[in-house]
């Protein structure tokens, strides 16, 4: 699984990085690690736009999203 760590990155770089990862690895799930609620919302929105499913979990202070192609 591709992993994208966007912790500490400010808008809109997290979405940009995740979008690149999705496009460079078509058909593969992408794991996103973020530490900021805004990035979490923005990445979720991107996933919904791409019709991907979202699995969420928390790891201490960080939020983890696993985006899977439909």
């Amino acid at each position: 699984m591709v992993e994208v760590d966007v912790r500490g990155q400010s808008c809109p770089i997290p979405v940009l990085r995740v979008k690149d990862a999705i496009e460079q690895n078509p058909g593969e799930p992408v794991k996103v690690i973020t530490d900021c609620h805004d990035s979490y919302e923005n990445v979720s929105q991107l996933a919904r736009n791409k019709k991907m499913s979202i699995e969420e979990s928390a790891d201490g202070d960080d939020l983890i999203l696993v985006l899977k192609p439909a």
Partner: protein, 363 residues
Amino acid sequence: MRKDYIWVIVAGAVIGALAVVLVKLGNPANMGFCIACFERDIAGALGLYNWEKPPLMIRYLRPEIIGIVLGAFITAVAFREFKPLGGSAPATRFMLGMFVMIGALAFLGCPLRMMLRLAGGDLNALIALIGFIVGAAIGVLFLRKGYDLGRTQRQGRLDGYILPAFMLLLLILLVFRVQFVEGGPILMSPKGHPGGEGSLVGFGLGVLISLIAGLLVGFFAQRARFCTVGSIRDFLLFRSTYLLAGAIALFVVVLAGNLLLGDFHLGFANQPIAHTAHLWNFAGLMLVGIGSVLLGGCPLRQLVLTGNGNTDSAVSVFGMLAGAAFAHNYGLASVTYENMWGQVVVVIGIIAVIIVAWINCRK
């Protein structure tokens, strides 16, 4: 309409409606909100620019700004989103904040006021909008090339409280009308705000109404992640219409309000608090557009982010206060064709922010 767009559309509509109301209660025309002008007013009230000289209209500890920060802060805490993060190129961000302020004051308005001016029929704002879009597009170009100011780190809790606490202090200074020097700071313009001369309400009520308006903007903008430059940036980058929907909602509500109240006057000439130097209206907001993309959000978004605990945004807000002080001390505001230094500094600003963008590209 998509369900997840509701927050941002409501946010845009509420901010627009409040802007119309605040103008009726005493804020200057087409200036229900202006983040740049109001931060400049705060710098003026604090005496950060030559306070012995006129103009006196631009000195007031704006409760709107205080409210936006405190509203966003309370919301972030309530929703457990408050998290002190910072340390991503603070000195660069201070400088970007300064130049964003100087660009905004060259035009006489932040991107939010540009939209309010446009909704009031001020076509100079249309020229500025084109400049703003060009600026945002330049910023997007660098984002595509890997522009990145580096990662933030978790900061101590206190660091995240600094700017909200500073705003609380300003509120105390305003409410108790503290004066440090006779005839000097804390200064207050006699009019141009709710509670001032000629306003429908008295001082106390004026402060309260402006503060509540700010708190509401802080709440809605925090929930919706409302951002003027983001609306253009995200559309150019991702074809995302989320933030754009909020900006359009704001414009439509203000336009409707102005038409209903007879405050819509189409044209270039004789617009309130505006000038017709097209090149500098364009260049001023082009500078704001590039700078705001590099900062990760427009001046309003910077205020809201400080409420989330973003200490980098706090640095950019302090940079904007400094920029306002320089702009008014050095006669850089309201750039017309006669105002040579204003022109020079706007051009220097555009060059400086492009250098910042270029050097921080990581591809």
